[in-house]
Structures are given as structure tokens and as C-alpha cells.
Symmetry: C3
């Protein structure tokens, strides 16, 4: 049996991998390219976080389940892209759930490794958005998270709640739930209502 | 009170962050994207250096001052881009100063961590140019340092002076001053006189 | 005297650096940019592998021979690009040899550092293809390995043979030879016969 947080982590990995695979299919990558994008979109955030906090080899490298789940998402998308496209709205919901989960788990892991509260918050956010950034850089595009609707801010808020609770010595379990729920709700609302951050007037 | 080298390091971080933020504003990134570019342009060189020499967590991650200074530069640029543009010539001067400082400090840190002289020189250069490369990659552009006027060479020269002084067991303080001054002067002259490296004839 | 594997490793580094330098020359980079692409194309795969398995500073950073060989390839390509272009078919053969070598050596090093078989195979492949990916990202292009003919698959096969032999406790020397030969043959056949992986139908 596997624990609930671990199962959720793998579920988040699967959904993020779907987004990477879809982007690869749209850019006419071959099967290998699609699988690389699946893995990169799902795991780069966590891998970079682990390298930065000194947790090597990173979890996504030493535990092959992350690879397996990423490849499964890649194969499904490669051979049945229409089915994924048809279900894109639920995929977006799952993506918001994955973002919430990664942000909370990432912040917790950074705290465990002794990072200060400000940086633990940012590393939680990075865990959530790093995969999408890697996906876009591999496709030679400006990461959408740098100009899209409240994606990163939702991750930042979720991570911040976990870290503030830690500073205040509140119990970590409920804090994680509240952080993830807040991140998820903010992200879903941002999609539905097209909330965006401002752009500078030059 | 903070030491002079530390204050200079933060000053260099601020100027490099300005260059990242200006690039983000020009590419119509949202506020978050501009702040990410600020941080990346100012800190990626040092972060990559620290990962390569095994100094984790990197200074720019464990010490939140670098983040704070980067974000300050990002906010100023985002809300008052015209004021930064008007002062672009002084910004270029400060950028040359930041380059000199980062190259010298980066080479010194690599020496402290036992790197050999050749690689310490290169890591000094990388500390100076890595941020600008990350900025351009995030914007899906070929890094300007790969085809521009003596930017990297100035950093290389400054770092080399520090390393050669170390090999010859000369006192490190004056060596750092000479290295930084030489890098700064070479960079400013390259801007004024449009010195460039050759391009291959194909 | 240097050992045969080390000499082969440096030979692979030289050929990979040629591919980076040629790409830089074609994109009109200046001399410095061409040298950066030489080093990046030849060494990024190994550097990322070493960071991921915790072998810091990476071999390509602590041992300056890799730098020297990379720069030599860069200078030759920069000043005599026509001579490299004329010999592009032999260069492709050497590139296949470099791929075979890097994949096998990379997988072996990951096994030594205790990675599980699945990830050791992938890190072997990454050692082979990482440099080419870095080269293309620096040029703001989608990595060709994500959509080209069996390049990555050949590296994967070579690494897998080494890892399977390790799991079955077969002698490592012959396994490395077989793995490298298989990778080389597969890559050369893929070039000659234009074998490609499928692309998804959307």
C-alpha cells in the first residue's frame, strides 16, 4: 500500500505530464520528444527544487514511479490525443489540483531541509510552475506562466499558507489542506473569470 | 552594519535585475513574469556556479536579501519603465560595474571551493554572464552575450586577474580591485568604441 | 599515459564540440559564442548527469582537459568552417561514436553512484543527448533530438545493454563494448535509411 500524499503526488505528476505531452503533440514532436516533454513538464519543478536544497539524487530520479507515471501519460496522449483534447476542461481542473499539491509539498520539503520561510515559499511555487516552464523552454517559447492568468500567484499563495503555519507552529496537516484548497480555488476562479496580473504600460 | 563586498554584491544584483525587468517589460510579460526575469537575470549566474561547485543551497536561495533587492528592481521597472529607459546610459555603466564585481567574486568563491585555476576563471565569467543568458533563454532568444561586444571577454579578464594573483600568491584584496577595474574599463571601452569579437566567414 | 576509456571520452567530447561549433557558426555567433556552444554541446549532458547523481564538481568542470578539447574543436570550426562542412559525413560517423560512448560511460557512472537500473539507463541516454539539447536551447530552437531519427533511442539502447548486464552480473567490459557497438550501429543505420519514430496524428 502507498500513502495518500504519495498517491496524490503521483496523480499530480500524471496530470502535469498530460500537459507536457499535449504541447509536444501540437508541435509535431516524435514519440520520444512527446515522452521527454511529459517527463519534463511533470518533474522539472521538483528536480530543480531538490538540486537547490541539496536533496540529490532528486526524488523524481531515484524513484522510478514518477518516470512510469509520466511515460504512461505521454503514451496515452500520443496515441489518443483527441480523447485528451475532448476532456480538456477536466484536465484543467486536475492541473489546478496538481499545482496546489506540488506547491504545498514543495514548500514542506524546503522547510524540512532548513530553508528560510521566504525561500521555502518560493521553492514551493517553483515546484508548481517549474515543469511548465521547462516544457515551454524546450519548445522554444516564452513560458506561459510569465504572462498568464494568476497561475504562479495561486501556487505562491498555497505555499505561503503552509510556510506561515510552520512559522506560527500550527499543525502542518490542516495547514497543507488549507493551502492546497486555497491555491486550487484561486486557480479555478482565475480560469473561470479570466483574472490576470497587470502588464506594464511602456 | 553590512560589509562593503556584500553591499557591492547587492548593488550588482540590483542593476542586473533592472536589465532583466526591462527585458520582461519590453516583451509584455505580466507583473509576475517581470519579477521572475528580475530574479533570474540577477541570480542565475551565481546559482549555477554554486550548484557546480557544490555550495548548496546557493547563496541567492538561502539569503533572502538577493531576492528582496531583485524584486525591488523589478517593481521599480514595472511601474516606472520610462524612468529606467531615460537613464539607460547610467544603467549600462552600473551593469558594467555589476559584471566586474560578479566576475571577481565568482572567481574567488570557486577558488575557495578548490576549483583549479582554469575552471575558477571560467566560473567567475559564468557568474557574470549567466544571469543575462538565463534572461534571454526565458524570452526564447539567443543569449546576446553569445554575439555581442566583448561582454564575456571583460568578465573573463577580470576573473583571470584574480585567479592569476591567487596562483602567484599575491594579496587577494588588491588583485580583486585590479581585476574588477580592468573588467569595468574593458566593458565600458567596448560599449563606447563598439569593439566586437570576429564572426566566422562561412 | 592516459587510459583508453579516457582517450575515447575526450574524442567524443571533441566531436560533440564540433557539432556545437558548427551550429554557432551557422547562427553568426561571434568567436566567444561559438566557443560556448562547443563547450555546451560537448559537456552539458555529463554535467547535468553529475549534478543529478551528486557528483559535484562535475568531471567536465574539475578536469580542464574537457574544456581544452572543446575549445580546440571550437577554434578549428571557427577559423576553418569549410573544412568541417566538407567532412560532414565522417563527422556524423564520429558523432554516432561519441553518442555510443557517452551513453555507455554515463550509464556506468550512474550505476557506480547507486542509481536504480531504470534511472541509470535514462541518465546514460541523457549523457548522450543532453549536449545537443543544450546547444539547441541556446540557439532558441526546439531540440532536434525531440523530433529526429532515432538519435535518443540509439543512446537508450546502448545504455540499457550496459545496465541489464550489470543487473545480470555479467562482466562490465564486454557489456560496454556490445552496448556501444549496438548504439553506434543503430544510429548509423537510422541515418542511412532515414528511420524515424512516429508522429502523433492530431
Amino acid at each position: 500500500m502507498i500513502s495518500l500524499p504519495y498517491a496524490l503526488d503521483l496523480a499530480g505528476t500524471f496530470v502535469f505530464a498530460l500537459s507536457g505531452a499535449m504541447a509536444g503533440v501540437k508541435h509535431k514532436l516524435d514519440l520520444f520528444g512527446v515522452l521527454v516533454l511529459s517527463f519534463a513538464a511533470a518533474n522539472t519543478g521538483g528536480i530543480v527544487r531538490d538540486i537547490l536544497i541539496g536533496a540529490v539524487p532528486p526524488g523524481a530520479i531515484s524513484d522510478w514511479h514518477y518516470l512510469g507515471v509520466s511515460l504512461a501519460a505521454g503514451f496515452v496522449t500520443f496515441y489518443f490525443p483527441a480523447r485528451i483534447t475532448q476532456r480538456w476542461n477536466p484536465v484543467l481542473l486536475f492541473d489546478a489540483a496538481g499545482l496546489a499539491l506540488f506547491a504545498v509539498v514543495g514548500a514542506q520539503k524546503a522547510l524540512v531541509y532548513g530553508l528560510n520561510p521566504v525561500m521555502a515559499t518560493l521553492l514551493g511555487m517553483l515546484t508548481g510552475i517549474g515543469g511548465g516552464m521547462a516544457r515551454d523552454i524546450l519548445l522554444a517559447e516564452i513560458p506561459t506562466v510569465l504572462r498568464t492568468d494568476l497561475y504562479a500567484l495561486a501556487a505562491l499563495a498555497g505555499a505561503a499558507i503552509v510556510v506561515v503555519a510552520n512559522v506560527l507552529q500550527l499543525p502542518p496537516g490542516p495547514a497543507a489542506l488549507v493551502g492546497a484548497a486555497f491555491c486550487f480555488a484561486l486557480r479555478v476562479l482565475a480560469i473561470r473569470r479570466h483574472w490576470r496580473l497587470p502588464v506594464a504600460r511602456v
